[in-house]
Symmetry: C2
Subunit: 411 residues, 2 copies
C-alpha cells in the first residue's frame, strides 16, 4: 500500500481520484501495490464526495505526514503550486504535476531538488494532455540526436483555426463558439495569445535538448491577427494555418518560438483537426514521428498524471532519470537568425512594379493568386533566409502596406 | 563501459552499429556509461567494415563471454534466433530484439525466462519500427483500462493501398512498384497475405491485455483479393480500405484479427498514407491516442533497438517490468462472435427484389450507389451484428453472387 496526496481538487485533481478508483485493480497490478488517496488539499468543501473525510485545508497535514510518499499537484498557477511542490520535494516526497506553468518557469530548479534528494518529479500531463510525449521523447528517442520538435500544442486555438479553415467561420465567431463549448475561458488570452503553447514549447525544448528554456526566452505570437483572408491565402499555397510551437537545436544552442504558421497540407500534422494535439519529433536516426490525440480534457489528462504516479511507485527506491540542466540567458538564439520562408500579403500601388522589385530583392519569389483577394493584393512566398534578412529586404520595398506575414513550415 | 554483442549484421544489425557509433556521446550520456560493441555474429565476411576484427561465426564466443551483458538479436526468423536468444537469457544476458516472428511465437516463454533470471527482454522495434508504441502502451497508458488497439501495421500493403486509392493503380501494378522500390520482397506473401501484420497484432494484444496471443489464434486475411472496385465502393461509403490488425478485450478474453477494413475518412488513422504506420490505442480514461511514423527502414528500426539497449543498460540491476502471462487455447474468442458492420457488394438478378429481401433479413440496411458499378451490383452496409449472424442472414438470400465483403471499422 502506498499513500499519496492530491493538491487541488479541480477538474484534473478530481479526475485523478476518479481514474485511481475506477481502475484500482489494474493500477495496483501495474504499480505492484495498491495506491491509496490519503489526503486531498482544497480550500473548497466537497461534503458529498466519498473522499470528503480525507480533505484538509492545511498543507502541513500533507507535507509533515511521513506516510505520504507521493504528492500530486493539480492546482495550477505558480503562487501556491511552486512553494508547495518545492516543500514536498525538500521533505522526501516525489511529485507528479500537470502544471505546465510551474514546469516551464521552475522545472530546472525543481528537477535539481528532486535529484539531490533522490526523488522523482514527473509531469507527463503538462504537455499534450493524455498523449504520451515526454516519456517517449526522453526514453524511446534516446538513441536519436533529436534535431527538432514542432507541434500543435493548444487544442482551443486548433479548434478555432479548424472552424475558420473548414467552415469559413470568422475569428470572433470561432472564439465565441469555443467559449460556448467550454474549450476557451471567458478570458481567452492564455490560449489565443499563445502563452499556453509557449509553456509547452519550453518544456519540450528543455527535455529534448537538455537545458531549461524559459517562457521569456520564447518569442510568442498568438492567432488574434489571423483572418479568413490569411486562411484563404494559405490554402492558395497548398497549406493550412496552425499555431505551432517549435524548437530546433543549432550546435550548442536552440531556437524556440510560437507562431501561427503555414503548414503544407502534405505535412504529417496538417490533418490534426479540432481540439486534437499533434507533436512531431525529428531525430537523426528515427526520421519523423508524430504523437497524436486529445491534448486536454479531464480524464485524458488525469490518466497521464496517474501513469506518472504508477511510475513513481515502481521507482520509489531507484530514481527514474528525467532531468535537464539549468537555463542560461544566451542559450536561446535570437529569432532574427532563424532561417525560414514566409508567406506574405502586401497591398501595393502597382502589382507589376512591386513584383519586379521583389524579384530583384529576393531573387526567387513564388507569386500566387487567389480569387478572394483585393485587386491590389500581392501574395507570395519568399525564399528561405534568416528572418533578419527578409525583414531588411522588405524594408527596401516602397509604397506598400504589409497585411500579414506568416512563416512557412518545412515539415 | 558496457559490452554488447549483435547477432546478425543485416540491414537492422548494421543500422544498430551505425546508430551506436554515430550518436555515441549522447547515448553514453543517456545510458550513464559508454556502450561498446564487443562481438558481432554473422556467417558472412565483412572485411572492409571497421568492426571486422570483432566478428565471429561462433555463437559460443558470445554466450560464454562473461563480459557481454546485453545481446542484440537482429537475425530474424525462428530457427537460429529462438535457441540463441533463449541461451543468452539462460546465461545471464539481457536481450533486445527486433524480431517480430520470435516475439509473436515465443514471447511468453522468453519473458518468463528473463523474469526468473532477473534480466530484461525488450523488443520495441518489433512493432511499428521506430515508432515508440510498446513502451507507451505499457507505461504511459498504465492508468487506463485499454479496451482496444487497432493499427496499420504493415508499410508495404499500406503503400500499395495508397496507390490504389489515390492513383487508381491496379493491385498488380502497385505490387510491382512496391517491389521496385524495395518495399516488398520478391516473394511478397508475408506482407500481402497479412502474416507480418498478424505477428505485430499478436505482440500488441499480448502486451495490451497481459496474456500471450499466438499467430495461429489470429484470423488473418490479406489484401490479395482487394480490387479497385472495392476501393471505389469504400469511397462511396465515405471510407478508405486499410489493412488493419485489431485486438479488443471482452471480459477476460480477447478478439484478435487482421483484415482489410473500411475505415471512415474521419477516423484518426484514415490519413495514414504510404509506407507509414499508425496505431490507435483506445483507453477508458485517455480516449483515443494515435502513434504515427515510419514503420520500417534501417535507421528508424535501429534507433528503436538502441533505445531498448540504453534502457537495459540503465536497468542492469533493477529489472524493468515488461511481462505477460502464458497463452491459452481458449483465450482468443471465436471470430464469428465479433460484432461489426460490413460493406457488401453483391451481383443480383433483380436489385429491387434483393433490396427488399435484405431489408427483411437485416432490418436496417444502408444502400449506396457508385458510378463505376456493374448494373446488377448492390452495394450496402449491414447493421452491427455478430459475424455469425450476418453470415447466416446472407445465406438466406437467394440468387446472388457475393463479390466482396469487408468489415467497417467503428474507430
Amino acid at each position: 500500500m502506498i499513500k499519496i496526496a492530491i493538491l487541488g481538487y479541480g477538474t484534473v485533481g478530481s479526475g485523478v481520484a476518479e481514474v485511481l478508483m475506477q481502475n484500482a485493480d489494474s493500477i495496483a497490478q501495474k504499480a505492484g501495490r495498491p495506491i491509496e488517496i490519503a489526503r486531498i488539499l482544497d480550500i473548497r468543501d466537497f461534503p458529498d464526495d466519498p473522499l470528503w473525510p480525507r480533505f484538509t485545508k492545511n498543507f502541513d497535514d500533507i507535507v509533515n505526514d511521513p506516510e505520504i510518499s507521493i504528492v500530486v499537484e493539480t492546482m495550477g498557477g505558480l503562487r501556491f503550486a511552486y512553494p508547495f511542490v518545492k516543500a514536498c520535494l525538500e521533505n522526501g516526497k516525489s511529485v507528479v504535476t500537470s502544471n505546465k506553468e510551474l514546469v516551464a518557469a521552475k522545472g530546472d530548479e525543481l528537477l535539481e531538488i528532486a535529484r539531490s534528494n533522490n526523488l522523482n518529479f514527473l509531469f507527463e500531463a503538462s504537455v499534450g494532455g493524455g498523449i504520451p510525449i515526454l516519456r517517449p521523447l526522453d526514453q524511446c528517442l534516446a538513441a536519436n540526436e533529436v534535431t527538432e520538435v514542432a507541434g500543435i500544442l493548444n487544442g482551443t486555438t486548433n479548434f478555432m483555426l479548424t472552424k475558420m479553415i473548414e467552415e469559413d467561420m470568422p475569428f470572433d465567431e470561432a472564439l465565441t463558439l469555443a467559449q460556448e463549448l467550454g474549450y476557451a475561458e471567458r478570458d481567452p488570452s492564455a490560449d489565443i495569445d499563445g502563452a499556453d503553447a509557449c509553456r509547452k514549447t519550453c518544456i519540450l525544448a528543455s527535455l529534448a535538448f537538455g537545458r531549461h528554456v524559459f517562457p521569456e526566452q520564447v518569442v510568442t505570437e498568438g492567432i488574434r491577427h489571423i483572418s479568413l483572408d490569411d486562411v484563404d491565402a494559405a490554402s492558395a499555397t497548398g497549406g493550412v494555418i496552425k499555431l505551432i510551437g517549435r524548437t530546433r537545436r543549432e550546435g550548442e544552442k536552440v531556437y524556440a518560438f510560437v507562431a501561427p504558421t503555414v503548414v503544407p497540407k502534405t505535412s504529417l500534422i496538417a490533418d490534426v483537426r479540432d481540439v486534437f494535439n499533434g507533436i512531431l519529433v525529428r531525430g537523426n536516426a528515427i526520421g519523423d514521428v508524430v504523437f497524436y490525440g486529445r491534448g486536454a480534457g479531464k480524464l485524458p489528462t488525469a490518466s497521464a498524471v496517474v501513469a506518472d504516479v504508477i511510475d513513481e511507485v515502481k521507482h520509489l527506491s531507484a530514481r527514474k532519470y528525467l532531468y535537464w540542466e539549468k537555463g542560461a540567458e544566451d542559450y536561446v538564439l535570437p529569432q532574427e537568425n532563424f532561417e525560414t520562408a514566409w508567406m506574405i500579403r502586401l497591398l501595393v500601388d502597382d502589382k507589376d512594379l512591386a513584383a519586379l522589385a521583389l524579384e530583384a530583392l529576393f531573387g526567387n519569389v513564388k507569386f500566387l493568386t487567389r480569387s478572394r483577394a483585393a485587386s491590389n493584393e500581392l501574395l507570395f512566398i519568399t525564399p528561405v533566409l534568416p528572418e533578419r534578412e527578409t525583414a531588411k529586404r522588405l524594408a527596401e520595398l516602397k509604397n506598400y502596406v504589409l497585411v500579414n506575414a506568416l512563416r512557412v513550415a518545412d515539415f
